[in-house]
């Protein structure tokens, strides 16, 4: 299904675990440095209300005066587990894109705030880079360095799967529980 900006609470609450979604609109990258900065009380350089944050350290180069994304796969999300939930609540972030899933703290905030976790396909750097059609801006590049900067990505039909929804469900928990049962039977 398609999900287009603005990413309102209503649209996000309608999503369920297992939904395959193609995102179109403006999203922001943010990884370790950005999350820590915001958690420590830093002012966001962009308005994060009803936004989607992408855990990604892209390879971006300037060609003919324009930013071009060369590779943009997701990075492991669990590193942001201490920060993600409180930031979702504080800034009304409606979605996070990453890989590997997140923990119980983030899941609880997803329910409370009305937010979801989107799983992108890890390693698919080229397919995902192709979905970034424009880079209108970049923030904190001086302070954080290029991969850690907050990049504005205009994406079209960016493919993800909802693996944690705003109703307390997590595909990661379900797959883990089911595989644990199977493992115990085998051992």
């Amino acid at each position: 299904m398609l999900l287009e900006a603005p990413f309102t609470e209503k649209k996000i609450r309608a999503l369920k675990v297992g939904d395959r979604v193609e995102i179109t609109g403006l999203i922001y990258t943010g990884r370790d440095a950005a999350h820590k900065y915001l958690h420590d009380g830093g002012t966001p350089p962009v308005d994060l209300t009803d936004s989607i944050v992408y855990h990604c350290g892209p390879v971006v180069v300037k060609e003919k005066g324009k930013w071009v994304v060369k590779a943009a796969g997701p990075t492991t999300s669990i590193r942001e587990e201490p920060y993600q939930g409180p930031l979702m609540e504080k800034f009304k972030i409606r979605g996070v894109i990453g890989k590997g899933g997140m923990g119980p703290k983030t899941l609880a905030y997803c329910k409370k705030v009305g937010a979801v976790y989107f799983h992108a396909i890890g390693g698919a750097a080229q397919v995902l880079a192709k979905c970034v059609v424009d880079v209108p801006g970049v923030h904190m590049a001086e302070e954080f360095g290029s991969p850690e900067a907050i990049w504005e990505f205009q994406v079209v039909r960016f493919p993800v799967v909802v693996t944690m929804d705003s109703h307390g469900r997590s595909l990661h928990d379900a797959v883990q529980a089911q595989s644990e049962k199977k493992l115990k039977a085998l051992l």
Binding site: T75, I78, I121, G122, G123, V161, V175, Q176, S179, L187
Partner: protein, 294 residues
């Protein structure tokens, strides 16, 4: 020997390794894709993976933005000494980084500073051996951080797993490692395994086992049987591509062994992601590439 030609060939080896997955890996991914249920998230993940592989090859760009630890194995004949080879590979690495085949991926562990060239202590990671033959053989692998983080080492006996110092104990470790990794290592994954050795040599040998082709059969019948069993049972866990659930959790299991001291029994597991970037070449004294190994 023509040092310039050597460097040029090594650059091409790096380019191909980063942008073009070997045929045995692509076949294993295709097989997994065919096996996954129609309209499932697991099948969808492998569809994106397949598109990504084709696209990276076509436009000659890295398959994954994490171009990983650069692991190099070289068998050097008399016509090329070690310093000459390392110099040439380092130059090729710097060039490959400038051309974007490799990300700036080497960070000083104390200062946190990125060298920007992929060179630095232990980077690339070289394993160089002299050979009596006339042919130079160079194999390399790019191993990303996600799958390296889920690699692990067990010391047997292990009370939690009820794993003793025998092949049944090894089996339990491999199943547990597959379960623990879930989708976090960008599965479907490949397990490179070493039974025995010390903690250091065990991990090195486990990674070296990943140079075997995915469709080969271990000449050691006991290990071949164990590999098959872990493949079947690992895939039955239902973790699936990216941990989305599904039938394809593992693409391969490759087990080797090293002698151990009586007091130790390590099982070292190098987990490799689906973006299994490895390749190799042989070169003659004229500097010509005589064969691509994968």
């Amino acid at each position: 020997m023509d040092a310039k030609l050597l460097q040029q060939n090594l650059l091409e080896l790096i380019r191909r390794t980063s942008t073009d997955l070997p045929a045995d890996v692509v076949q294993a991914i295709d097989k997994g894709w065919r096996r996954e249920q129609k309209d499932s998230s697991g099948k969808y993940a492998l569809e994106v993976v397949r598109d990504n592989i084709d696209m990276a090859r076509r436009i000659s760009q890295p398959i994954c933005q994490d171009t990983g630890t650069i692991i190099v194995y070289a068998d050097l004949p008399a016509w090329c000494d070690e310093p000459t080879f390392i110099k040439a590979f380092e130059k090729a690495t710097v060039q490959a980084t400038k051309k974007g085949y490799l990300r700036q991926n080497s960070v000083d562990s104390i200062t946190g500073k990125n060298s920007g060239t992929n060179l630095g202590p232990g980077s690339p990671s070289f394993h160089v051996h002299p050979t009596r033959g006339k042919t130079m053989k160079v194999r390399m692998m790019l191993k990303g951080g996600g799958c390296e983080n889920v690699s692990c080492q067990y010391s047997l006996p292990d009370t939690r797993l009820g794993a003793g110092r025998d092949l049944e104990g090894v089996y339990k470790c491999l199943m547990d490692a597959t379960y623990q990794a879930q989708g976090k290592g960008c599965g479907p994954g490949i397990l490179g395994v070493c039974v025995g050795g010390d903690r250091g040599t065990g991990y090195v040998a486990a990674k070296e086992a990943l140079f075997r082709k995915l469709d080969d059969v271990n000449p050691d019948k006991t290990l071949a049987k164990l590999e098959k069993r872990v493949m079947t049972d690992g895939n039955s866990l239902g973790i699936g591509p990216m941990g989305f659930g599904g039938k394809t959790t593992l693409l391969g299991v490759k087990i080797t062994h090293r002698n151990r001291v009586p007091a130790c029994y390590f099982v070292s597991i190098a987990y490799m992601c689906w973006a299994f970037r490895r390749n190799g070449v042989t070169m003659s004294e004229t500097g010509k590439i005589t064969r691509w190994l994968y």
